[in-house]
């Protein structure tokens, strides 16, 4: 993959928040590339700037320094990004199905055929039967799953996922992991994935970016050379354990 042009090229990106009592350096200096079709995970201690980084990539925050290059020839940042936010952020005045359809409306796609797709996605995340519920009638994990379906509805090439499975139980999480891999492989998506689960990161990723505590720098960029397609057995491989340990150790450097 390395010979190809990177989809995203992140160079010395910094972010400084101005607060009432001075400046807060949220993102110290982060550089890495994401190639088309890659599955890249970002791990790092709480408050190190993972969310900040994703938001900068999505154009929701301005960076304070550095450069981000996007391969605009092959990728339209306006229509081909899907973002799963850390909070579920469902619109409380819309029913679940309409929440999932929100990007369809924003991108002015045809709503009618997408409705079917939305139903399928809701089924995929295990929420059939809740299409006509309001968000507040769902549990925390169910809301999070709705937000995953919403990020997928417009079939984006690049998925930015901020701890998408944080509120899910082990079994559901595992199922969602496998589903995500399936979608990623089938639809040739590029995924940037923030997680706190080290095993999850190893299991899913081609590469793992480890960030240090604030002001964050990149401590490690670990290529995961495990066979694809990944099945649950991958976890039993000794390399798996080694990768996990390596990440664990570099995380401990604070």
């Amino acid at each position: 993959m390395a010979e190809r042009k990177p989809l995203l090229s992140i160079r010395n990106v910094k972010k400084i928040f101005k607060t009432r009592d001075g400046e807060l350096e949220a993102l110290g200096d982060v550089s890495f590339d994401v190639y088309p079709g890659e599955f890249v995970s970002i791990v790092g201690p709480s408050g190190c700037g993972k969310t900040t980084l994703l938001k900068i990539l999505a154009g929701l925050l301005l960076k304070s320094g550095g450069a981000i290059e996007v391969d605009q020839a092959n990728f339209d940042p306006a229509r081909e990004v899907g973002f799963v936010f850390q909070k579920a952020l469902l619109l409380y005045w819309r029913k679940i199905l309409d929440n999932v359809l929100l990007p369809v409306e924003i991108l002015k796609m045809d709503r009618a055929p997408m409705k079917e797709r939305a139903r399928d996605l809701l089924k995929l995340v295990g929420l059939q039967g809740f299409e006509q519920s309001y968000p507040k009638e769902l549990s925390g994990g169910m809301q999070q799953r709705v937000s995953i379906a919403r990020a997928l509805i417009h079939d984006p090439k690049l998925l930015l996922m901020d701890e998408p499975f944080g509120a899910l139980d082990a079994i559901t999480r595992e199922r969602m992991n496998l589903e995500l891999l399936r979608i990623w492989e089938e639809a040739k998506k590029t995924i940037l994935f923030v997680t706190h689960g080290i095993n999850e990161a190893v299991f899913l990723s081609d590469r793992i970016i480890v960030l240090s505590a604030r002001p964050s720098r990149m401590v490690q960029a670990l290529d995961i050379n495990l066979p694809r397609p990944r099945t649950l057995e991958v976890r039993t491989l000794p390399e798996f354990g080694q990768y996990a340990l390596q990440i664990y150790n570099s995380l401990e450097i604070r």
Partner: protein, 257 residues
């Protein structure tokens, strides 16, 4: 069915209040022997409304329909223009800085003091009265809508911003629904102001309407007729307010628990 029962129950307390107030009033007038031209009793007032002998003479329907159409028209104008102004102010800093001092300035002026100007600008008839009611009532809608549009959680805006949503889409999909409680309380304030505004408009210049009737009743010292018109005016206000409250519940089903 359930909502109907609820509805009835709600109105039932209100109806009771109304009846209680009227009864107290009637009894008070009778006990203290208050003269009619100082404070007429409710029954005397109702006689003006319903006894055919008076009712036909006062041509209630003409006056009510005039005032009512002024109120409804002015509310529509107020709602549309008010929300549009709030949107413009949200979108453009420059517009905000141009519009806001002027509306604040204008809003602290008593409209009745500008009566000659209004007559000059608008003349008389239904349209000018609608204009005056609009001037009286539009401020709460503008400022409430504006606050509501800006009181949106930044996170919710991010939700569509990353999809490069247009300003209009952000407005329609996020800001507007999110500010509905604000808009509706603006509406509620404006409903009664529209009523007041229509009447003030009729005071300033009119050929019919409840405000007209009231003024002439005042001239003839027909206090009962004055109160009867006042009663109708405020009933229009209460009825209109209730319609808005109903609309609010209908438009915000997620609020139900």
């Amino acid at each position: 069915m359930k909502t109907l029962a609820l509805f009835i129950r709600k109105h039932y307390t209100r109806l009771l209040t109304l009846i209680a107030v009227l009864a107290l009033w009637q009894i008070g007038v009778m006990v203290f022997e208050i003269k009619e031209f100082i404070l007429p009793a409710p029954l005397t007032i109702l006689a003006q409304l319903f006894l055919p002998r008076y009712a036909s003479q006062h041509r209630w329907l003409t006056h009510i329909s005039t005032t009512l159409s002024e109120i409804l028209l002015s509310f529509c104008v107020t709602a549309v223009v008010g929300i549009a102004a709030a949107i413009l102010m949200t979108w453009s800093r420059i517009l905000r800085q141009i519009i806001s001092p002027i509306i604040i300035l204008f809003n602290s002026l008593p409209k009745i003091a500008l009566a000659p100007l209004f007559l000059l600008w608008f003349g008389y008839g239904i349209v000018p009265n609608v204009m005056i009611a609009f001037l009286v009532a539009f401020f709460p809608i503008v400022i409430n809508t504006f606050t509501g549009l800006n009181a949106v959680d930044e996170d919710l805006l991010d939700l569509v911003r990353y999809l490069h949503a247009s300003k209009w889409q952000i407005f329609v999909k996020i800001q507007l629904p999110n500010s509905l409680p604000y808009i509706f309380s603006g509406f509620k304030i404006s409903t009664t102001l529209c009523v007041v505004g229509a009447i003030v408009g009729e005071f300033i210049a009119s050929t019919r309407g409840l405000g007209f009737l009231m003024k002439s009743a005042q001239g003839y010292m027909n206090t009962a007729l004055m109160f009867a018109s006042l009663l109708l005016i405020s009933m229009l206000g209460v009825g209109f307010f209730s319609c808005i409250a109903l609309l609010e519940r209908w438009l915000m089903p997620w609020e139900e628990s």
